[in-house]
Symmetry: C2
Subunit: 685 residues, 2 copies
């Protein structure tokens, strides 16, 4: 009705002047804004409990402890990599789901590492203290990196915890984060992917949504479930529109502090290239999947990852080509530049930040194609071969001279990954490697030294077949033998992938060095200057770009304008069945049979998914949504299509985080899956 | 899932090269395309039955006969004007709905006229024969109009049918349409507006949708239900995705054949003005509605009309500002122009068509504000006064010298409207008139002759109060007396609105004449040239712009890309309850109580609304959706938000017509409203 036009207008345009923006570090929360806008001041206990309940999945993703017995809630799509690794031709947990009725039935994941941020310390001064004014770009970067390694090694030795020096604000601040890590993590429950990823790629990154995108793990230590002091109390009543909520998780990366020219570089180079590349890979993977159901099963996880990336990048790319977004970014940059240039001291110190970055971008553009195609590509086995070759070489060097990834403090994690018992599928490996070689041949100059070393005069398909069929690297014991055999054994090895890795490694190292000394060093020095200028002008009222480290976002449960109308704050089970029936016959929208069988026992008014203005991005998947009381009320699993611009700019009008409602998880566990014991554990009954 | 990206791609980009475009006249259907694309050739019987079952609502809107006893199906929002006129402070059928359990309970509508197109004849040559090469623009237009009147008068006299000479292709063709008319039309059934217009202005022009937007009337003749030879057989199974369907109805107007400069005129003048105007009117009407529930009831129908118009125009305006759309229009025009200019004969005959139109646009722009504000505005009573003043003057003249609207063949319809017993609300009249006067005073020059004649030195509010409180024109007998009293009685009348109308009429006539002689005459002569050029080049492969006359569209039941995902071909009752619950507490999404009471008896998988690629626009509301068998399977009630660009350009990718599924109407009648007798009549049980 017409009067609502005004209501609509008021609803979306009025409201607080403070936007619900920011992925804030726990040391620098916008407490003043929170108090002003929501009248809420979190206590130290509140913050400590939320932080210590927050879990980082090293596979990528977030989660949280939700019971005193180490139960961890995350998304199905965060768990799906492990589900795939635990599956085979006969038992496909991705498809059927999984339910451990007792603790004995919980299965250990082959290579899942989770982290909890237990301590954090600002080490900016310590790191910057090693820099001297007359250093070159290259020397500065080297000095920084050496100091970081030194701090990390020392921390690991002293605490036994997993150390990470985190670079915030693009070289503006450095913090030493210390993580408690668990590597014995067991699968407890996962629904069928059909229910978790209902709507498939179509509905991915959209809302209204109806997904049961959750899975449960349990952390073990010394063979026993971890007794958690910190976990989030479960609240099945969830949310109502207008509620203040928080998201604590590990957003992967944003580019909001990039310079305007960096965004132009993304728009004109990285995105068009990457989108083309993914489109190509998806096309060839589909060929592989079409060969049979087992091939389809193996390809699924790659297809999901690439399809997800493609949809995200397509939305982001659209943002980069949108004049409104780019003009806003330009305006923001010009405001900052004007402030810097109008202050003699700032101008002298930081005024050349932008041009230094521009000089790096020039080099990046000039070497774009070569840097892209000089890589080991999609083959996991070749990646393992290169890791082994490097490992045996690097560990003989003094720590400070080693390649990144091979420092003392990093070796545990490296070996945990390299020696994972997860299956590697040789047919898919061969297929991927052959395609990589074909692409390389097509895109690189025929005299390119990397191409010559890698492929030589061989035919891509035959060579890939030879390499993969002959290698023994799919055998974990063989990998172990190689790692332990050291440089000598590796050099002597007849394994064709090891031999190939030895051949291409020098070229890849050279490339890495070129990039580090000429591009990274400039990018980071320029960024450091801009970061310092920002601090000088805006203080700490800004938050750093996302870095896959723990952040807290806040916001309101709230609908938004969409499709010419408004999207509701939450959806219900009625909507799930509506969408399933509306697409009758299409498999992305087909529900597991048991949903139909149990339909009449369900309370269809149960909220399914909901949206809030919380500022999130990929990596936040699996993050808990927490209310004022510090209880968990939802589970982040996506952003809406409008949120994709959020990589560059947050717009509260339509940017929404999409979460699974806790009530849907309970309703599904109890009534669809007959998993009352798990629901009881969650609800603490 | 990622593989679907390709499916999505194929799904929307492949497909026939022939678009489902066009609102075709029944004399020139795209039979070749239909056969080629769908393998369907409608028989003469099929076409005759669909045409003769199609109903035009003179209030605006379409409908169809759906039983042999004269039952007419249309939209609730087409019926709502009559529902309002039949309501009062004590019985509000708009709110409560209406159900005549027996024929005796069916209520006659105060002023509803419906038409059925029974005959059509091309009279282009007859009309163009009166034109002479040396005529001025003004003379050409006058000669055309006189001939049209002559043809209409003659036809009315000879046939007793309602004649209308229809101008197609913007003066490219003229057809004499003859209508069978019914003025005894009775209300049979209407659901509550809450159910019919579920989602209100928010969901208006959007999809997915869940509206029960239907109402039923019955045509009577000589006090008895009309026995229909032609009506559409009801099919409750409705549609499935991919079905070929047709829409037969009366699209109001499109601007697809406008020149590029006409579109720019719309973009730069008409739309911004009109949108501002509607926004203003909605704001003041909301003030009125806030005074109390009875005022809200009275204002509702205006608010609905304006809100609906605002949303449509806002979408259309967005189209006009979209460079893709405008570039496409420019391209089309340049293609035509190039063809004209590269042919000496065409160039000489029609080459100046565009510049003639441009000269009219210049005048229109120059006189824009004056032409806009020299009007009687929103007051119905003042409109009636002006009609009476003109009527008594015009009927004394020879027919050919009369103002349009007062020719012999038009008088029945004029009197039917003028003498409608529908209530007129004086408080709302006064409110509207006062606002019109304020706007006029604000926007016109203080020496403007119309403003001086209309308002003089009076205070707008006081003057409006005086005029409306003193007039007797709300009394139908008084109106009748005035009409019958003739010129003398009117001149002597002391009724303040009659007196005012006498005062402003000369100025309004002068304005009308200025517009006709200087602007309309040019616009139409230029358009005639372009139309002839189009025929010369493209023949009759094109369809005319919509003219609120009968058209047939065709298309496929099909979803479309939306909101980053896809919209389904149809929705279900599950979705209705989902959306209602999702917006708990918001009144646009609150369902009538009986929906909740009857919920458990409903088959929630019943299809509710569906979309097809059929090309429609406002005026098509209430049109039947017909299948290959000529059965009715749905009821058009809206276009999606993407269809709003369709006023200028049809885009099959996302332009969709939204219809109520016949199954929902039956399910609602039987299970929610206990109206089995009506459902039985529809289903012919």
């Amino acid at each position: 009705m017409s009067r609502n036009i005004f209501v609509l207008f008021l609803f979306f345009l009025i409201g607080s002047l403070i936007a619900d923006e920011g992925m804030w570090t726990y040391d620098n929360l916008p407490l003043k804004d929170l108090k002003e806008k929501y009248g809420f001041v979190p206590t130290k206990e509140w913050l400590d409990n939320v932080r210590l309940s927050s879990v980082r999945f090293m596979d990528g993703g977030s989660g949280s402890f939700v019971s005193p017995d180490g139960l961890i809630l995350t998304n199905h799509h965060v768990a799906v990599g492990q589900l795939q690794k635990l599956s085979n031709a006969k038992r496909n947990y991705v498809k059927t789901g999984f339910y451990a009725k007792t603790k004995e039935e919980e299965i250990k994941c082959p290579d899942l590492e989770i982290n909890i941020l237990v301590d954090m310390k600002n080490v900016t001064d310590e790191i910057l203290s090693v820099l001297k004014p007359d250093m070159t770009f290259e020397e500065r970067l080297k000095a920084k990196k050496e100091k970081i390694t030194e701090i990390e090694n020392k921390a690991k030795k002293e605490t036994g915890l997993e150390p990470e020096v985190v670079n915030l604000y693009h070289d503006g601040e450095f913090w030493l984060y210390l993580y408690k890590k668990y590597t014995d993590v067991r699968l407890v429950f996962a629904p069928e992917r059909q229910a978790a990823y209902f709507g498939g790629d179509y509905d991915n990154f959209t809302y209204p949504r109806y997904d049961l995108d959750f899975a449960l793990f349990r952390a073990y230590e010394n063979g026993k479930p971890v007794k958690c002091k910190n976990y989030l109390k479960w609240n099945s009543n969830g949310i109502k529109e207008g509620d203040l909520v928080f998201v604590s998780g590990h957003p992967g990366s944003t580019d909001r502090l990039y310079t305007y020219n960096q965004l132009k570089y993304l728009r004109d180079y990285r995105y068009p290239y990457a989108i083309d590349f993914i489109n190509h890979k998806l096309k060839v993977l589909e060929e592989f999947a079409q060969r049979g159901p087992e091939q389809a099963r193996k390809a699924l996880i790659y297809q999901f990852g690439l399809g997800n990336g493609l949809k995200a990048m397509t939305g982001e790319y659209k943002g980069l080509r949108d004049s409104i977004l780019m003009n806003e970014k330009k305006k923001q940059e010009e405001e900052l530049k004007n402030k810097v240039y109008s202050d003699e001291k700032l101008k002298k110190l930081y005024g050349d930040g932008w041009s230094i970055i521009d000089s790096a971008l020039d080099l990046q553009i000039k070497n774009f194609k070569r840097l892209r195609y000089h890589s080991t590509g999609f083959s996991r086995l070749l990646g393992i071969a290169l890791n082994i070759v490097r490992y045996v070489e690097e560990i003989e060097k003094p720590d400070k001279d080693r390649l990144e990834g091979y420092h003392e403090s990093e070796l545990d994690r490296l070996k945990f990954r390299l020696l994972s018992p997860a299956p590697i599928y040789k047919d898919l490996e061969e297929f991927n490697l052959a395609d990589d070689l074909k692409q390389m041949k097509k895109n690189l100059d025929e005299n390119d030294e990397f191409l010559k070393a890698f492929l030589g005069d061989n035919d891509p398909e035959k060579f890939a077949h030879y390499l993969i069929s002959k290698t023994k690297l799919d055998n974990v014991d063989f990998r172990k033998k190689m790692l332990n055999g050291g440089k000598k054994a590796v050099k002597k090895s007849k394994d064709p992938l090891i031999k190939l890795a030895l051949k291409i490694d020098p070229i890849l190292r050279k490339e890495k060095e070129f990039y580090r000394n000429n591009i990274e060093s400039r990018l980071r020095y320029g960024a450091e200057k801009i970061a310092k200028a920002r601090f000088a002008i805006y203080g700490k009222s800004i938050y750093p770009d996302a870095t896959f480290t723990l952040r807290l976002s806040y916001g309101t449960v709230k609908g938004y304008p969409y499709n010419g109308t408004i999207a509701p704050a939450y959806t219900t089970l009625y909507g799930l069945f509506d969408r399933a029936l509306s697409f009758k016959g299409k498999r992305e929208y087909s529900l597991p049979e048991r949903f139909w069988q149990k339909k009449d026992s369900l309370d269809l008014s149960t909220p399914v998914n909901f949206v809030s203005t919380c500022d999130i991005i990929g990596g936040n998947s699996g993050s808990p949504v927490v209310n004022r009381e510090g209880e968990i009320v939802g589970l982040i699993f996506d952003g809406n299509i409008e949120s994709l611009y959020g990589r560059f700019l947050y717009d509260e009008k339509a940017n929404r985080a999409v979460a699974v409602h806790t009530a849907y998880i309970i309703e599904a566990l109890r009534k669809i899956y007959n998993a009352d014991n798990i629901a009881d554990e969650l609800e603490n009954r």
